[in-house]
Amino acid sequence: MADVALRKVVKRYDDVEAVRGIDLDIADHEFIVLVGPSGCGKSTTLRMIAGLEDISDGDIMIGGDVVNDVPPKDRDIAMVFQNYALYPHMTVAENMSFGLRLKHYPKAEIKARVTEAARLLDITDLIDRKPKQLSGGQRQRVAMGRAIVRNPKVFLFDEPLSNLDAKLRVQMRIEIKKVHQKVRTTTVYVTHDQVEAMTLADRVVVMNKGRIEQIGTPNELYHKPATRFVAGFIGSPAMNFIPCRLEEVGGTLQIRLTDRIAFPLPPARAARYNGLPRTDRLLLGIRPEHLTEAHAHLAPGVETFDTVLDVTEPMGMETLVYFGLDGTPVCGRVDPNAGAADGAPMRLAMDLNNMHLLNEETGVVL
């Protein structure tokens, strides 16, 4: 097991810069998830750590050693691929032991390690089967088994659950977390699914256009996003961004959303935003769960307004409501018994204690 460090790592394909000088420190035993949309450079970063892609600039270190020119087989890493990449002509046991056999481990040790990994992943019964006789979930377990038996310094996962159906994905997510809790190997995991990132990671690295947007624990990213990209990417349904401006009325700082809707800011928020120029074009960032039905007794910092709902989506434990504020589509989450209906008027409450204010031009959360 080892720590991993990336120092100003760059990857260029001809004229295109896929990864633009990223710095990242991954501690020993840590579970790091790289998340971002397609083409953000997350898979390329993982493949550079694996040694499957050369790096154009910078340094990659595993266990304190620079591994820029070390071939994959000497990096002591194991990788799980999106499409499993099992050797089709080998049995499960042969697949799992392939790496150990190449390194001429004693037969008894190979058997012991394969048996232990199979037990850990609950695939002991499948050990003599060929990959084509396995289901998707079983294949992915075998792929993980192949990584575990090597007892490597670092596990690399490249979107391992993307090929599985939704139910199996949730199940495998828990399996992966359990396995990590048991083996504690440093793990770098790539996904485009923010739910996967949030549920698995010790720390999440949000990437966009070849750069790191923010690194933090799942809670930090959710509650304290640094940029509009992170705020919009983490959380489902996504955070609402409503154009707004600050104005001072009778010594109170208030936020104006439309000509008819303006709310006074709670004192803590007012103090924080007081120094901002009133001319800046701003965005109010508010998560759907902070836009709920209005109750009779409102907590401080919660303001109400009337709107007409465009569409409602009953989800069972909650109902998502969609409406417009001066043409900006907005989503809220209300109680299923709150009486929300398509095209019906509704009084909603906005919890400004959980609001974010963003600079519309720079996308920075203020």
Binding site: K73, N83, A85, Y87, P88, F98, K132, R139, R146
Partner: protein, 303 residues
């Protein structure tokens, strides 16, 4: 009114479904018709050969029904199979074809692997170039090849012309490009993650080739083997040009040159020789066909 509309819609939908299955039935009937026609067309010559091979020379030349054997005899088979000359041709053909298959595989497999996977400067052009060489017909190549071998023979003093073993060097000019091309396709169809997984597992390029690619691409390898064997076994022009002495001849050339004397055609033995000559490729096809068709890559990745 609405009931009427439903009644109308009902039958029309049924007719549509019916027409689909009727289309299929007709498509199948036509397929069978043409396949049977095709089979008759291609099986008639071998059947005629078999019939003729079972006749004596007297019966062949007699004005009887050529499609029937009145006095079947195995004398043609007995004579050929006890003739040292025929067995010599057979032996020459076998040793040349097997060696050519081995040489072809030893060259084509690493070449295809390099061209399909080890991306290097000009690999795509080289891959196309390999295939283009196959497009040059042997009837254009045999004269320059003959000249080349004559020059090499003159300079080195090693006898190359009129020796069966020279064909082992010449046939691969036909088999290597095509087999390499087939295997580039097969290797390219293997998911890239498979060699990356092997690479991370600690395999060298050679180990990736021998332990992953060759077993996984076995159907492709067998297809290439069958092709190389068939081309070598049936080759006529090159052995006709490069070998002349009777003890150096291969089966197709040997049969035509020794069993046709002047304008006397020993039809019975010619047909028998040709049938016996067709047996080895047939046996190979029969045994390897299952492998040839089986898709071994199933289960490697999602799908």
């Amino acid at each position: 009114m609405s009931t009427l509309a439903i009644d109308k819609a009902g039958p029309s939908r049924k007719v549509k479904l019916g027409s689909m299955s009727r289309d299929r039935t007709w498509a199948l009937r036509w397929s069978y018709f043409f396949l049977v026609l095709f089979a008759i067309f291609f099986l008639t010559p071998p059947v005629y050969m078999l019939i003729t091979s079972l006749k004596s020379s007297a019966e062949i030349s007699a004005a009887t029904n050529p499609w029937w054997v009145f006095h079947p005899t195995l004398s043609n088979y007995a004579e050929l199979l006890t003739s040292n000359q025929f067995l010599r041709f057979f032996w020459n053909s076998a040793i040349i074809s097997i060696t050519v298959v081995i040489v072809t595989m030893l060259i084509s497999i690493p070449a295809a692997f390099a061209l399909a996977r080890m991306k290097f400067w000009g690999s795509a052009t080289l891959a196309t170039g390999v295939f283009l060489t196959y497009l040059i017909p042997d009837s254009l190549l045999f004269i320059p090849l003959f000249k080349m071998l004559a020059v090499v023979q003159e300079f080195t003093g090693i006898t190359l012309l009129n020796r069966w073993y020279v064909l082992v060097f010449i046939y691969p000019t036909l088999t290597v490009p095509f087999c390499t091309w087939i295997m580039i396709g097969y290797f390219a169809s293997i998911p890239k993650e498979l060699d990356e997984a092997a690479l991370i597992d600690g395999a060298s390029w050679l180990q990736t080739l021998t332990r992953i690619f060759i077993p996984v691409a076995l159907p492709g390898l067998i297809a290439a083997t069958i092709f190389a064997f068939t081309v070598s076994w049936a080759q006529f022009l090159y052995p006709l040009v490069f070998t002349t002495s009777v003890d150096q001849l291969v089966l197709p050339v040997g049969i035509t040159t020794t069993l046709i004397k002047g304008d006397v055609f020993n039809w019975g033995q010619i047909m028998t020789g040709a049938l016996l000559g067709a047996a080895p490729p047939l046996i190979i096809y029969a045994f390897l066909m299952d492998y040839y068709i089986a898709g071994l890559t199933a289960g490697a990745t999602k799908g």
